[in-house]
Amino acid sequence: MADGEPRLVCFSCNFGWGYLADRNALASQVKNWIPVVCTGKIDITHVLDAFKAGADGVLILGCPEGECHFQDGNIECKKKVFLLGKLLEDYGIEKDRLRIELSSDPDGSKLPQIVKQMTESIARLGPVKKVEAPSKVA
Protein backbone atom coordinates (compact mmCIF):
# COMPACT_ATOMS: atom_id res chain seq x y z
CA MET A 1 0.00 0.00 0.00
CA ALA A 2 3.11 2.17 -0.23
CA ASP A 3 1.81 3.98 -3.32
CA GLY A 4 -1.59 4.62 -1.75
CA GLU A 5 -3.47 1.95 -3.71
CA PRO A 6 -4.36 -1.03 -1.45
CA ARG A 7 -3.23 -4.36 -2.82
CA LEU A 8 -6.06 -6.86 -2.96
CA VAL A 9 -5.67 -10.53 -3.89
CA CYS A 10 -8.82 -12.05 -5.34
CA PHE A 11 -9.34 -15.82 -5.53
CA SER A 12 -12.39 -16.92 -7.50
CA CYS A 13 -13.97 -20.25 -8.36
CA ASN A 14 -13.83 -21.17 -12.06
CA PHE A 15 -17.23 -22.80 -11.90
CA GLY A 16 -19.13 -19.75 -10.70
CA TRP A 17 -17.16 -16.69 -11.67
CA GLY A 18 -16.18 -15.27 -15.04
CA TYR A 19 -16.18 -18.50 -17.06
CA LEU A 20 -18.11 -16.89 -19.90
CA ALA A 21 -16.07 -13.68 -19.82
CA ASP A 22 -13.05 -12.72 -21.88
CA ARG A 23 -10.44 -13.79 -19.35
CA ASN A 24 -7.74 -11.43 -20.55
CA ALA A 25 -10.08 -8.46 -20.48
CA LEU A 26 -11.26 -9.36 -16.99
CA ALA A 27 -7.71 -9.91 -15.76
CA SER A 28 -6.76 -6.44 -16.98
CA GLN A 29 -9.47 -4.97 -14.75
CA VAL A 30 -8.80 -7.11 -11.70
CA LYS A 31 -5.23 -7.03 -10.41
CA ASN A 32 -3.90 -10.10 -8.59
CA TRP A 33 -6.81 -12.22 -9.78
CA ILE A 34 -6.31 -15.93 -9.09
CA PRO A 35 -8.99 -18.18 -10.58
CA VAL A 36 -9.03 -21.59 -8.85
CA VAL A 37 -10.72 -24.88 -9.65
CA CYS A 38 -12.79 -24.69 -6.44
CA THR A 39 -12.58 -22.43 -3.40
CA GLY A 40 -12.33 -25.64 -1.33
CA LYS A 41 -8.83 -25.93 -2.81
CA ILE A 42 -7.71 -22.72 -1.07
CA ASP A 43 -5.59 -23.53 1.95
CA ILE A 44 -4.99 -21.21 4.88
CA THR A 45 -1.33 -21.25 3.81
CA HIS A 46 -2.27 -19.57 0.51
CA VAL A 47 -4.04 -16.71 2.28
CA LEU A 48 -1.18 -16.23 4.75
CA ASP A 49 1.30 -16.26 1.85
CA ALA A 50 -0.71 -13.48 0.20
CA PHE A 51 -0.50 -11.33 3.36
CA LYS A 52 3.16 -12.23 3.70
CA ALA A 53 3.79 -11.09 0.14
CA GLY A 54 2.34 -7.69 1.00
CA ALA A 55 -1.39 -7.98 0.32
CA ASP A 56 -3.60 -5.54 2.23
CA GLY A 57 -6.65 -7.74 1.79
CA VAL A 58 -7.83 -11.06 0.40
CA LEU A 59 -11.19 -11.61 -1.30
CA ILE A 60 -12.52 -15.10 -2.01
CA LEU A 61 -15.40 -15.57 -4.43
CA GLY A 62 -17.09 -18.97 -4.29
CA CYS A 63 -20.24 -20.55 -5.67
CA PRO A 64 -23.62 -20.09 -3.95
CA GLU A 65 -24.41 -22.51 -1.14
CA GLY A 66 -25.64 -25.83 -2.49
CA GLU A 67 -24.18 -25.20 -5.96
CA CYS A 68 -20.57 -26.32 -5.48
CA HIS A 69 -19.40 -28.49 -8.37
CA PHE A 70 -17.50 -30.60 -5.82
CA GLN A 71 -20.34 -30.88 -3.29
CA ASP A 72 -19.25 -28.49 -0.52
CA GLY A 73 -15.88 -26.89 -1.34
CA ASN A 74 -17.39 -23.43 -0.91
CA ILE A 75 -18.63 -24.25 2.61
CA GLU A 76 -15.26 -25.78 3.52
CA CYS A 77 -13.62 -22.55 2.42
CA LYS A 78 -16.07 -20.45 4.40
CA LYS A 79 -15.20 -22.38 7.55
CA LYS A 80 -11.52 -21.70 6.92
CA VAL A 81 -12.21 -17.99 6.43
CA PHE A 82 -14.09 -17.72 9.72
CA LEU A 83 -11.35 -19.58 11.57
CA LEU A 84 -8.55 -17.66 9.89
CA GLY A 85 -10.25 -14.34 10.69
CA LYS A 86 -9.73 -15.08 14.35
CA LEU A 87 -6.08 -16.05 13.81
CA LEU A 88 -5.37 -12.89 11.81
CA GLU A 89 -6.55 -10.76 14.71
CA ASP A 90 -3.88 -12.36 16.89
CA TYR A 91 -1.36 -11.24 14.30
CA GLY A 92 -2.71 -7.70 14.44
CA ILE A 93 -4.41 -7.98 11.03
CA GLU A 94 -8.06 -6.86 11.06
CA LYS A 95 -10.39 -9.73 10.12
CA ASP A 96 -12.24 -7.45 7.69
CA ARG A 97 -9.20 -7.73 5.43
CA LEU A 98 -10.32 -11.25 4.58
CA ARG A 99 -13.74 -11.73 3.02
CA ILE A 100 -15.62 -14.51 1.31
CA GLU A 101 -18.63 -14.06 -0.91
CA LEU A 102 -20.70 -17.00 -2.10
CA SER A 103 -22.55 -16.04 -5.25
CA SER A 104 -22.08 -16.46 -8.98
CA ASP A 105 -21.18 -14.23 -11.91
CA PRO A 106 -20.58 -16.30 -15.06
CA ASP A 107 -20.02 -13.37 -17.41
CA GLY A 108 -17.76 -11.50 -14.98
CA SER A 109 -19.87 -8.35 -14.98
CA LYS A 110 -20.08 -8.04 -11.16
CA LEU A 111 -16.56 -9.15 -10.38
CA PRO A 112 -14.68 -5.87 -10.96
CA GLN A 113 -17.30 -3.99 -8.96
CA ILE A 114 -17.00 -6.35 -5.95
CA VAL A 115 -13.22 -6.05 -6.08
CA LYS A 116 -13.51 -2.27 -6.22
CA GLN A 117 -15.82 -2.16 -3.18
CA MET A 118 -13.50 -4.40 -1.17
CA THR A 119 -10.48 -2.31 -2.23
CA GLU A 120 -12.24 0.81 -1.00
CA SER A 121 -13.12 -0.73 2.36
CA ILE A 122 -9.48 -1.83 2.80
CA ALA A 123 -8.30 1.65 1.91
CA ARG A 124 -10.29 2.92 4.90
CA LEU A 125 -8.42 0.46 7.15
CA GLY A 126 -5.05 1.74 5.98
CA PRO A 127 -1.92 -0.38 5.62
CA VAL A 128 -1.53 -3.71 7.46
CA LYS A 129 0.04 -3.35 10.89
CA LYS A 130 2.12 -6.49 10.96
CA VAL A 131 3.53 -7.98 14.16
CA GLU A 132 6.81 -8.24 12.34
CA ALA A 133 9.61 -6.61 14.21
CA PRO A 134 12.53 -5.12 12.30
CA SER A 135 15.23 -7.63 11.71
CA LYS A 136 18.25 -7.34 14.03
CA VAL A 137 20.24 -10.17 12.63
CA ALA A 138 21.85 -10.26 9.25
Binding site: I44, K78, L83, V131, E132, A133, S135, V137
Partner: protein
Amino acid sequence: MADKPKVAICWLGSCGGCDEAVVDINEAILTVADATEIILWPVALDYKYHHVEAMQDGEIVLSIINGHVRNSEQEEVARLLRKKSQLVLAFGACACFGGTPGMANFRTKEDIFNWVYRDSPTVVNPNDNRPQTKCTVDGKELTLPEFYEQVYALRQIIDVDYYLPGCPPPPDLIVNAVMAVLEGRLPPKGSTLAPNKALCDTCPRNKTKPDKIGIKEFKRIHEVEADPNTCFLAQGILCLGPAIRTGCGEACININIPCRGCFGPVEGVEDSGAKFLSSLASIIEAESDSDLQKVVASLADPAGYAYRFSAPISTLVKKRV
Protein backbone atom coordinates in the same frame (compact mmCIF):
# COMPACT_ATOMS: atom_id res chain seq x y z
CA MET B 1 42.08 -38.39 23.97
CA ALA B 2 43.42 -36.30 21.14
CA ASP B 3 41.90 -38.32 18.32
CA LYS B 4 38.43 -38.61 19.80
CA PRO B 5 35.81 -36.55 17.94
CA LYS B 6 35.14 -33.28 19.76
CA VAL B 7 31.54 -32.52 20.68
CA ALA B 8 30.04 -29.32 22.13
CA ILE B 9 26.68 -29.16 23.89
CA CYS B 10 25.46 -25.63 24.41
CA TRP B 11 22.35 -23.78 25.53
CA LEU B 12 21.18 -20.44 24.21
CA GLY B 13 17.72 -19.18 25.26
CA SER B 14 16.82 -22.40 27.02
CA CYS B 15 15.08 -23.67 30.14
CA GLY B 16 17.68 -26.40 30.71
CA GLY B 17 15.23 -29.18 29.87
CA CYS B 18 17.15 -30.11 26.73
CA ASP B 19 20.39 -30.50 28.71
CA GLU B 20 18.43 -32.59 31.19
CA ALA B 21 17.23 -34.73 28.28
CA VAL B 22 20.86 -35.45 27.34
CA VAL B 23 21.41 -36.84 30.83
CA ASP B 24 18.17 -38.81 30.50
CA ILE B 25 19.72 -41.08 27.89
CA ASN B 26 20.99 -42.90 31.02
CA GLU B 27 23.83 -45.38 30.57
CA ALA B 28 24.04 -44.60 26.85
CA ILE B 29 25.72 -41.36 27.90
CA LEU B 30 28.71 -43.45 29.03
CA THR B 31 29.07 -44.78 25.49
CA VAL B 32 28.84 -41.24 24.11
CA ALA B 33 31.28 -39.89 26.71
CA ASP B 34 33.67 -42.75 25.93
CA ALA B 35 33.55 -42.25 22.18
CA THR B 36 33.80 -38.45 22.21
CA GLU B 37 35.58 -35.60 23.89
CA ILE B 38 33.05 -33.09 25.21
CA ILE B 39 34.76 -29.72 24.90
CA LEU B 40 31.89 -27.47 25.99
CA TRP B 41 28.77 -28.07 28.07
CA PRO B 42 28.05 -24.96 30.14
CA VAL B 43 25.31 -26.56 32.23
CA ALA B 44 27.49 -29.47 33.34
CA LEU B 45 31.20 -28.83 32.78
CA ASP B 46 33.56 -25.96 33.46
CA TYR B 47 34.88 -25.13 30.02
CA LYS B 48 34.95 -21.54 28.86
CA TYR B 49 34.00 -19.89 25.60
CA HIS B 50 37.56 -18.61 25.16
CA HIS B 51 38.70 -22.24 25.03
CA VAL B 52 36.44 -22.66 22.02
CA GLU B 53 37.67 -19.39 20.50
CA ALA B 54 41.22 -20.75 20.64
CA MET B 55 40.29 -23.81 18.58
CA GLN B 56 40.78 -24.25 14.84
CA ASP B 57 37.79 -23.69 12.53
CA GLY B 58 35.96 -27.00 12.05
CA GLU B 59 37.82 -28.66 14.90
CA ILE B 60 34.57 -29.57 16.67
CA VAL B 61 32.89 -32.48 14.91
CA LEU B 62 29.41 -31.81 16.28
CA SER B 63 27.80 -28.92 18.11
CA ILE B 64 24.50 -29.76 19.77
CA ILE B 65 22.77 -26.42 20.30
CA ASN B 66 19.52 -26.01 22.20
CA GLY B 67 17.44 -22.89 22.87
CA HIS B 68 16.31 -19.92 20.78
CA VAL B 69 18.21 -16.70 20.01
CA ARG B 70 16.88 -13.46 21.47
CA ASN B 71 19.94 -11.53 22.53
CA SER B 72 23.38 -10.60 21.25
CA GLU B 73 25.18 -13.04 23.54
CA GLN B 74 23.17 -15.97 22.23
CA GLU B 75 23.86 -14.88 18.67
CA GLU B 76 27.59 -14.55 19.36
CA VAL B 77 27.82 -18.05 20.89
CA ALA B 78 25.80 -19.55 18.03
CA ARG B 79 28.09 -17.94 15.45
CA LEU B 80 31.21 -19.02 17.33
CA LEU B 81 30.10 -22.66 17.47
CA ARG B 82 29.10 -22.59 13.82
CA LYS B 83 32.58 -21.36 12.87
CA LYS B 84 34.36 -24.01 14.89
CA SER B 85 32.08 -26.95 14.01
CA GLN B 86 31.76 -29.34 11.11
CA LEU B 87 28.13 -30.11 11.98
CA VAL B 88 25.49 -28.20 13.91
CA LEU B 89 22.48 -30.01 15.34
CA ALA B 90 19.52 -27.82 16.33
CA PHE B 91 18.35 -29.65 19.43
CA GLY B 92 14.84 -29.26 20.80
CA ALA B 93 11.81 -27.21 19.77
CA CYS B 94 13.36 -23.82 20.67
CA ALA B 95 16.43 -24.30 18.47
CA CYS B 96 14.37 -25.85 15.66
CA PHE B 97 11.36 -23.48 15.57
CA GLY B 98 11.75 -20.89 18.35
CA GLY B 99 9.75 -22.90 20.88
CA THR B 100 7.32 -21.57 23.46
CA PRO B 101 9.42 -18.40 24.04
CA GLY B 102 8.67 -17.68 20.37
CA MET B 103 5.10 -16.76 21.32
CA ALA B 104 6.66 -13.51 22.56
CA ASN B 105 6.80 -12.58 18.86
CA PHE B 106 3.08 -11.79 19.07
CA ARG B 107 4.14 -8.79 21.20
CA THR B 108 6.70 -6.10 20.56
CA LYS B 109 9.84 -5.70 22.63
CA GLU B 110 8.40 -2.42 23.89
CA ASP B 111 5.20 -4.14 25.12
CA ILE B 112 7.24 -6.77 26.91
CA PHE B 113 9.54 -4.24 28.61
CA ASN B 114 6.61 -2.06 29.63
CA TRP B 115 4.96 -5.02 31.33
CA VAL B 116 8.07 -6.46 32.94
CA TYR B 117 9.62 -3.18 34.15
CA ARG B 118 6.59 -0.95 34.68
CA ASP B 119 3.04 -2.32 34.49
CA SER B 120 3.20 -5.71 36.16
CA PRO B 121 1.45 -5.43 39.59
CA THR B 122 4.46 -6.80 41.46
CA VAL B 123 6.94 -4.31 40.00
CA VAL B 124 8.21 -1.33 42.01
CA ASN B 125 10.31 0.78 39.68
CA PRO B 126 9.63 4.49 40.34
CA ASN B 127 12.52 5.67 38.14
CA ASP B 128 11.35 3.47 35.25
CA ASN B 129 14.79 1.88 34.98
CA ARG B 130 15.26 -0.30 31.92
CA PRO B 131 18.10 -2.67 31.04
CA GLN B 132 20.86 -0.90 29.12
CA THR B 133 23.59 -2.53 27.10
CA LYS B 134 26.12 -0.29 28.91
CA CYS B 135 26.15 1.60 32.18
CA THR B 136 28.79 3.04 34.48
CA VAL B 137 28.90 2.13 38.17
CA ASP B 138 31.67 3.57 40.42
CA GLY B 139 33.63 4.56 37.35
CA LYS B 140 33.49 1.08 35.88
CA GLU B 141 31.62 0.21 32.72
CA LEU B 142 29.20 -2.71 32.98
CA THR B 143 27.67 -4.36 29.94
CA LEU B 144 24.64 -6.55 29.20
CA PRO B 145 23.73 -8.36 25.97
CA GLU B 146 21.29 -6.52 23.72
CA PHE B 147 17.69 -7.82 23.88
CA TYR B 148 16.48 -8.23 20.28
CA GLU B 149 13.12 -7.18 18.86
CA GLN B 150 12.03 -10.78 18.41
CA VAL B 151 12.82 -14.43 19.07
CA TYR B 152 14.69 -16.33 16.35
CA ALA B 153 14.97 -20.03 15.62
CA LEU B 154 18.60 -21.15 15.23
CA ARG B 155 18.38 -21.51 11.44
CA GLN B 156 17.42 -17.83 11.15
CA ILE B 157 20.84 -16.98 12.63
CA ILE B 158 23.30 -19.62 11.46
CA ASP B 159 23.47 -22.48 8.97
CA VAL B 160 22.04 -25.61 10.63
CA ASP B 161 22.90 -29.12 9.40
CA TYR B 162 20.37 -31.27 11.24
CA TYR B 163 17.27 -30.88 13.39
CA LEU B 164 16.10 -32.89 16.36
CA PRO B 165 12.77 -31.49 17.59
CA GLY B 166 10.87 -32.09 20.80
CA CYS B 167 10.35 -30.40 24.14
CA PRO B 168 12.64 -32.02 25.01
CA PRO B 169 13.73 -34.58 22.39
CA PRO B 170 13.14 -38.15 23.60
CA PRO B 171 16.14 -40.31 24.63
CA ASP B 172 15.87 -42.84 21.78
CA LEU B 173 16.10 -40.11 19.11
CA ILE B 174 18.99 -38.40 20.93
CA VAL B 175 21.05 -41.60 21.02
CA ASN B 176 20.16 -42.30 17.40
CA ALA B 177 21.24 -38.77 16.33
CA VAL B 178 24.57 -38.82 18.16
CA MET B 179 25.42 -42.34 17.03
CA ALA B 180 24.48 -41.45 13.43
CA VAL B 181 27.13 -38.69 13.53
CA LEU B 182 29.75 -40.88 15.21
CA GLU B 183 29.15 -43.76 12.82
CA GLY B 184 28.92 -41.53 9.75
CA ARG B 185 25.44 -42.70 8.68
CA LEU B 186 23.83 -39.32 8.22
CA PRO B 187 20.87 -38.42 6.00
CA PRO B 188 21.08 -35.43 3.60
CA LYS B 189 21.91 -32.05 5.15
CA GLY B 190 18.86 -30.23 6.48
CA SER B 191 17.08 -33.44 7.53
CA THR B 192 15.10 -33.78 10.70
CA LEU B 193 16.33 -36.79 12.63
CA ALA B 194 12.83 -38.03 13.45
CA PRO B 195 10.11 -39.99 11.60
CA ASN B 196 8.39 -38.25 8.67
CA LYS B 197 4.82 -39.23 9.54
CA ALA B 198 2.22 -37.16 11.36
CA LEU B 199 1.43 -37.99 14.97
CA CYS B 200 -2.08 -39.25 14.07
CA ASP B 201 -0.40 -42.03 12.04
CA THR B 202 1.17 -43.53 15.14
CA CYS B 203 -1.37 -42.44 17.75
CA PRO B 204 -2.82 -45.34 19.76
CA ARG B 205 -6.19 -43.54 19.71
CA ASN B 206 -6.34 -43.38 15.91
CA LYS B 207 -8.64 -46.41 15.70
CA THR B 208 -11.23 -44.62 17.86
CA LYS B 209 -11.50 -41.76 15.37
CA PRO B 210 -14.93 -41.83 13.71
CA ASP B 211 -15.20 -41.63 9.89
CA LYS B 212 -16.49 -38.11 10.18
CA ILE B 213 -15.73 -35.75 13.04
CA GLY B 214 -18.10 -32.83 13.55
CA ILE B 215 -17.04 -30.30 16.18
CA LYS B 216 -19.85 -28.06 17.42
CA GLU B 217 -17.91 -26.55 20.30
CA PHE B 218 -14.22 -26.45 21.11
CA LYS B 219 -13.32 -27.55 24.60
CA ARG B 220 -10.06 -27.06 26.46
CA ILE B 221 -8.45 -29.99 28.18
CA HIS B 222 -8.84 -28.52 31.66
CA GLU B 223 -12.55 -27.86 31.17
CA VAL B 224 -13.57 -31.48 30.61
CA GLU B 225 -12.76 -34.94 31.82
CA ALA B 226 -11.32 -36.36 28.65
CA ASP B 227 -11.88 -40.01 27.90
CA PRO B 228 -8.42 -41.63 28.15
CA ASN B 229 -8.86 -43.83 25.06
CA THR B 230 -10.79 -41.74 22.53
CA CYS B 231 -9.36 -39.43 19.85
CA PHE B 232 -9.17 -35.92 21.33
CA LEU B 233 -10.54 -34.21 18.23
CA ALA B 234 -13.54 -36.57 18.30
CA GLN B 235 -14.16 -35.21 21.81
CA GLY B 236 -13.93 -31.61 20.58
CA ILE B 237 -10.57 -31.05 22.29
CA LEU B 238 -7.85 -29.42 20.21
CA CYS B 239 -5.01 -31.83 19.42
CA LEU B 240 -2.32 -30.92 16.90
CA GLY B 241 -1.77 -34.55 15.87
CA PRO B 242 -2.89 -34.15 12.22
CA ALA B 243 -0.20 -31.55 11.45
CA ILE B 244 2.67 -32.44 13.77
CA ARG B 245 5.55 -34.84 13.22
CA THR B 246 5.58 -38.02 15.25
CA GLY B 247 8.58 -39.52 17.06
CA CYS B 248 7.79 -38.32 20.56
CA GLY B 249 6.59 -41.75 21.66
CA GLU B 250 3.10 -40.23 22.14
CA ALA B 251 4.29 -39.06 25.56
CA CYS B 252 1.48 -36.51 26.03
CA ILE B 253 -1.27 -38.69 24.54
CA ASN B 254 -0.33 -41.48 26.95
CA ILE B 255 -0.99 -39.24 29.95
CA ASN B 256 -4.29 -38.02 28.48
CA ILE B 257 -2.99 -34.67 27.24
CA PRO B 258 -3.54 -33.66 23.59
CA CYS B 259 -0.61 -32.92 21.26
CA ARG B 260 0.78 -29.38 21.65
CA GLY B 261 3.06 -29.52 18.64
CA CYS B 262 6.61 -29.65 20.01
CA PHE B 263 7.82 -31.84 17.12
CA GLY B 264 6.95 -29.16 14.58
CA PRO B 265 5.74 -29.56 11.01
CA VAL B 266 5.84 -32.84 9.09
CA GLU B 267 8.29 -33.17 6.19
CA GLY B 268 7.62 -30.70 3.39
CA VAL B 269 5.47 -28.32 5.46
CA GLU B 270 6.80 -24.98 6.68
CA ASP B 271 3.89 -23.58 8.61
CA SER B 272 2.30 -26.35 10.68
CA GLY B 273 -0.10 -23.92 12.36
CA ALA B 274 -1.71 -22.92 9.07
CA LYS B 275 -1.96 -26.55 7.97
CA PHE B 276 -3.49 -27.49 11.30
CA LEU B 277 -6.11 -24.74 11.11
CA SER B 278 -6.99 -25.81 7.56
CA SER B 279 -7.59 -29.36 8.75
CA LEU B 280 -9.45 -28.09 11.81
CA ALA B 281 -11.81 -26.03 9.65
CA SER B 282 -12.83 -29.18 7.77
CA ILE B 283 -14.10 -30.87 10.94
CA ILE B 284 -16.18 -27.95 12.19
CA GLU B 285 -19.88 -28.74 11.97
CA ALA B 286 -22.18 -25.77 11.50
CA GLU B 287 -25.53 -25.40 9.76
CA SER B 288 -25.55 -21.63 9.46
CA ASP B 289 -23.23 -18.62 9.62
CA SER B 290 -24.32 -17.89 13.18
CA ASP B 291 -23.56 -21.51 14.19
CA LEU B 292 -20.16 -21.14 12.57
CA GLN B 293 -19.56 -17.89 14.45
CA LYS B 294 -20.39 -19.66 17.71
CA VAL B 295 -18.05 -22.59 17.06
CA VAL B 296 -15.19 -20.28 16.10
CA ALA B 297 -15.88 -18.07 19.13
CA SER B 298 -15.47 -21.11 21.40
CA LEU B 299 -11.88 -21.46 20.18
CA ALA B 300 -9.71 -19.56 22.64
CA ASP B 301 -6.35 -18.21 21.46
CA PRO B 302 -6.01 -19.91 18.04
CA ALA B 303 -2.55 -18.43 17.44
CA GLY B 304 -1.32 -19.69 20.81
CA TYR B 305 -2.61 -23.19 20.05
CA ALA B 306 -1.50 -23.46 16.46
CA TYR B 307 1.89 -21.80 16.95
CA ARG B 308 2.73 -22.77 20.52
CA PHE B 309 6.21 -23.94 19.49
CA SER B 310 6.65 -22.42 16.06
CA ALA B 311 5.67 -18.73 16.01
CA PRO B 312 9.16 -17.49 14.91
CA ILE B 313 9.06 -19.65 11.75
CA SER B 314 5.36 -19.04 11.02
CA THR B 315 4.49 -17.41 7.71
CA LEU B 316 3.48 -14.05 9.12
CA VAL B 317 6.12 -13.66 11.83
CA LYS B 318 9.30 -15.13 10.42
CA LYS B 319 12.03 -12.85 9.28
CA ARG B 320 11.92 -12.07 5.60
CA VAL B 321 14.93 -13.71 3.98
